[in-house]
């Protein structure tokens, strides 16, 4: 049977349609994908992201241990800041992409993808050189309040100074009486917060947010729009756009690989790949003929297969068919003319700049 988050009952109460995702019984939609998508872009949406995992490094060796397996540089972030990066294998393949919340040099919370909870924990523990690493995934609930009105909603429920929590920062605080880690992070491209709370109180927190959000037209939002929202921002999805056979350089994540920070697992292989040059690169594309590209569709150039689509959808905000695909670097420039083979037929596509949707800086 599929796993259930602490918010499972809340989803049923709010009329969600449930599907299995990464072994979890999750809401795919409530009112409808498009309605939820636009609610997040224009007002505020509420997501259950409790299926994500939390692995915590503690003690005097915590920072050094995590630095040794993380591609980004945690020495560059202050306490109370968060940082995105990858965990890589020796050969440079991506174990997972994660967000690290640095509470202090001796207390760092790693938020990992749902499908990778156990794999990441074992990986981190086995490469931590004896540092204190714990899998706290079952103890935490996690809700994401996302959208231009997220701040207004959350302000009603906390005395914590939310304006002081800038993007990619976090602070402990009480929300509706529930002790949380309040983080200004998300996966939608909108302003918003992710609240890490004790699993047993997730339901109470959810209902308090729904109640406080009513005047702001808050909408419970499912995994369906989570995917269209993230894809409009060209945020990568582990398991679709990358896996342990792709490197962060190929996945367009070289901005989170800090070669100059000192050694880390995968560094030598990635450096070698950088020097030798890439054989493929993840790019954003837009279909210029009718159709919708999907994961696994071949990418063609003058009729010959040159790559693969890793994500594709119809963008609800842009009303265009967009996607991500691996292509040879020579074909990766903006404007490069390609085709996507959809049900045996080539459909014209063009490489475009990402993110697909440009947002105002918050």
């Amino acid at each position: 049977m599929a796993l259930r988050t602490p918010l499972h009952a809340a989803h049923l109460r709010h009329g969600a349609r449930m599907v299995e995702f990464a072994g979890w019984d999750m809401p795919v939609q409530y009112a409808g994908l498009l309605e939820e998508h636009m609610a997040v872009r224009e007002a505020v949406g509420l997501f259950d992201v409790s299926h994500m995992g939390e692995v915590v490094f503690r003690g005097p060796r915590a920072l050094a241990a995590l630095q040794a397996v993380f591609t980004n540089d945690l020495a560059k972030v202050a306490d109370g800041q968060a940082q995105y990066g990858c965990l890589c294998r020796e050969d440079g393949g991506i174990v997972d992409d994660v967000v690290v919340y640095r509470r202090s040099a001796e207390d760092l919370l790693v938020c990992v993808n749902a499908a990778n909870r156990q794999k990441d924990f074992e990986w981190l523990r086995d490469h931590a050189g004896g540092a204190d690493v714990r899998n706290e995934s079952d103890q935490w609930g996690q809700v994401a309040v996302q959208g231009p009105r997220a701040l207004t909603v959350l302000k009603k429920l906390t005395r914590t100074d939310l304006d002081a929590i800038k993007t990619y920062r976090h602070a402990p605080g009480a929300v509706a009486g529930v002790t949380c880690l309040i983080a200004r992070t998300g996966y939608t491209g909108e302003d918003g917060f992710e609240l890490f709370c004790p699993a047993a109180q997730a339901d109470a927190l959810w209902e308090a947010l729904m109640e406080a959000g009513r005047p702001e037209a808050i909408q419970p939002a499912g995994l369906g729009c989570r995917d269209t929202l993230r894809l409009e921002m060209a945020y990568r999805l582990y398991g679709s756009d990358m896996d342990d056979a792709t490197s962060p350089l190929e996945a367009g994540l070289s901005w989170v690989v800090k070669f100059d920070k000192g050694d880390f697992l995968g560094r030598a292989a990635l450096l070698r790949q950088k020097e030798q040059g890439l054989t493929r690169k993840l790019v954003g594309f837009q279909l210029t003929e009718p159709g919708i590209a999907r994961h696994g569709h071949p990418v063609l150039r003058e009729g010959a297969p040159v790559g693969l689509v890793t994500s594709g959808t119809r963008s609800p905000s842009l009303k265009l068919s967009i996607g991500l695909a691996y292509v040879p670097p020579a074909l990766a420039a903006e404007g490069s003319a390609l085709a996507v083979e959809i049900r045996g037929k080539p459909v014209a596509a063009s490489v475009v700049k990402t993110p697909f949707l440009s947002r105002k800086a918050s």
């Binding site: 795919v28 409808g32 994908l33 995917d227 009718p290 159709g291 119809r314 609800p316 068919s321």
Partner: protein
């Protein structure tokens, strides 16, 4: 969940409505609800020949792709072209605005072999 009494149905959730000499085809309320928001539809051209049980097109929601299967055989005599620009009609009004193609049947007996509303409802109930 509406299942109009005057239509015929397939187990794949298409409906068929006799209208003079032609038969209109679409997908049911149950099908559109299962699919979610339809954002793309691919239909045959007027003059194409379709065969019972074979694919005549595709509907895609933001998440899923679903093939359309012809309830009966025949020649396509009309296509609901506005659906290409407004595929949401399939969600909003699956039995009227959301019709997809009109067929001139080549095997008229096939229409009689489709499920009636009662049998289709039983089929849907079985699927939960």
């Amino acid at each position: 969940m509406t299942i109009p009494d005057d239509l015929k149905y397939t187990k794949d959730h298409e409906w068929a409505r006799q209208k003079g000499t032609k038969v209109l085809i679409g997908i049911t309320d149950f099908a559109q609800d299962q699919l979610g928001d339809v954002v793309f539809v691919e239909l045959p051209a007027v003059g194409d020949v379709v065969k019972r049980g074979e694919s005549f097109g595709v509907v895609e929601s933001t998440k899923a792709v679903s093939e359309l299967f012809a309830p009966i055989s025949g020649k396509v005599v009309e296509v609901n072209d506005p659906l290409v620009e407004a595929p949401e009609s399939i969600n909003e009004d699956p039995y009227e605005e959301g019709w997809m193609i009109a067929i001139e049947p080549s095997e008229p007996r096939e229409l009689g072999e489709l499920l009636d509303a009662k049998a289709y409802k039983a089929h849907v109930d079985e699927q939960g």
